[in-house]
């Protein structure tokens, strides 16, 4: 059970960590000052959840690894994040479509974890759920603005939704680990979040005059450490300083 919980906590933490890293890539590059600050703030929220989760995962593992060891000294095969968060930022529409899909999922996951029998998970989730509501709103506002905007912005927003939709299926995948922690009243079976998520995301797509893509191809593997090539490049940039100067702090 402890090993399964370690894996489960790692999944939540890695989703947040890799999402934070991608969002932070927009710092100093966003289309306007307010957006630069918004994306950096959302990245910080994600990083906060990641730090709490990786710290807890390290304690569960009991091998002496802390948040920094888990963030900076694992190889890509050891990461448990979903593929959705590691894909490149693309244009602004892709970034917003990803944020919408991810934060709607995270918000409902954290909502469920508030009732966890595990006090640590419940505590972090109770804080993070309120932050997720702001992330969802931010992404939804942009999705509507771009989708229901000019012909060009509509085209790009639809393309972004179409490109990322296949990667949303992985969010709701079940396996022995999530079933186990869900039965123990500690975790949430992501499959149970799917209906609410689809309803919520569809309402935004409708308002944005966008078409919800048909379900089909469903890439996965992230939860088992099988990632796209993009994660390695992300990790090399994220980890280079820590690997070059082990134990450095500032």
């Amino acid at each position: 059970m402890t090993t399964d919980l370690f894996e489960y906590v790692l999944r939540i933490g890695d989703d947040a960590l890799i999402a934070a890293q991608r969002l932070a890539e927009w710092s100093t590059r966003a289309p306007e000052m307010e957006e630069d600050i918004a994306l950096s703030n959302i990245a910080l929220d994600q990083l906060g959840v990641a730090r709490a989760m990786l710290t807890y995962a390290g304690e569960l593992e009991g091998a002496g690894r802390g948040e920094d060891d888990l963030a900076f000294l694992r190889e890509d095969r050891e990461f448990r994040n979903c593929l959705l968060v590691e894909l490149p930022n693309g244009d602004f529409a892709v970034t917003m479509a990803r944020l919408l899909f991810l934060s709607a999922y995270q918000g409902s996951l954290y909502d469920g974890l508030v009732g966890s029998a595990d006090g640590r998970l419940a505590g972090v989730a109770a804080k993070a759920r309120k932050e997720s509501a702001y992330h969802v709103d931010h992404a939804a506002q942009w999705t509507v603005r771009l989708g229901d905007g000019t012909a060009e912005s509509h085209k790009r927003m639809q393309a972004a939704v179409d490109d990322l939709w296949p990667y949303t299926h992985e969010l709701f995948g079940s396996d022995a680990i999530v079933s186990g922690v869900a039965e123990a009243g500690v975790g949430v079976d992501p499959a149970s979040l799917r209906e609410g998520w689809t309803e919520a995301v569809s309402s935004v797509l409708d308002e944005a005059t966008l078409t919800r893509p048909a379900d089909g191809w469903a890439p996965g593997g992230g939860r088992d450490g099988l990632h796209t090539e993009h994660l390695s490049y992300l990790l090399s940039e994220m980890q280079v300083l820590h690997r070059a100067h082990p134990g450095a702090s500032w």
């Binding site: 934070a20 307010e34 600050i37 918004a38 950096s40 703030n41 959302i42 990245a43 910080l44 929220d45 994600q46 990083l47 906060g48 959840v49 730090r51 709490a52 709607a104 918000g107 409902s108 909502d111 006090g119 640590r120 419940a122 505590g123 972090v124 109770a126 804080k127 993070a128 759920r129 309120k130 932050e131 997720s132 509501a133 702001y134 969802v136 709103d137 931010h138 939804a140 506002q141 609410g196 998520w197 309803e199 919520a200 309402s203 935004v204």
Partner: protein, 167 residues
């Protein structure tokens, strides 16, 4: 005991420099071991990734050392989660006086069912301008100079101002 608590409670928030961590509701408890004199201070983050937490921890240690306490441990607690409702009345008054609009009371738990998705500041939540008092204000940016603040503008006096977002 009270001396240790007073020292920790007087620490000023590094981002909202006009109020203390006690008024902000970040300070959760101060206990002192009468045998060893060791002090344990418990704080809670406003936002999960609040970058001010490290500075707050360092400032607490410094303040307690100045008050004569050499053995200080600062713990972080997540539950119950911080809410802007924990900002004290004196804290709210000081924020407003510094031109930062304090948050509206969240009353019911600030949980938006994810199916509702869109979190909107209702008219009732919109703060009056901290400079001229006008109720005619608008949001410029959801995410302001720090994680906990939004940027707004007064339609009457045209001044932009920070608003501590209800959370």
């Amino acid at each position: 005991m009270t001396a240790a608590r007073d020292a920790a409670a007087a620490v000023v928030d590094p981002e909202l420099r006009v109020i203390t961590i006690d008024e902000l509701g970040v300070l959760r408890g101060v206990t002192e071991d009468p045998g060893t004199g060791a002090v344990t201070v418990t704080i809670t983050p406003t936002y999960s990734g609040c970058p001010a937490m490290d500075v707050i921890r360092a400032d607490i240690r410094t303040a307690l050392r100045r008050a004569g306490y050499d053995r200080v441990e600062v713990m972080t607690s997540y539950g119950p989660p911080w809410s802007t409702d924990w900002i004290s009345e004196s804290g709210r008054a000081k924020l407003a006086a510094a031109g930062i609009a304090p948050p509206a009371r969240v009353a019911a738990p600030a949980v938006i069912p994810v199916t509702a998705l869109r979190r909107r500041l209702t008219v009732a939540d919109a703060p009056p301008c901290p400079r001229c008092g006008s109720a005619e204000t608008e949001e410029i940016a959801h995410f302001g100079s720090t994680a906990c603040k939004a940027l707004r503008r007064c339609r009457s006096c045209a001044e932009p101002f920070d608003h501590v977002k209800p959370l």
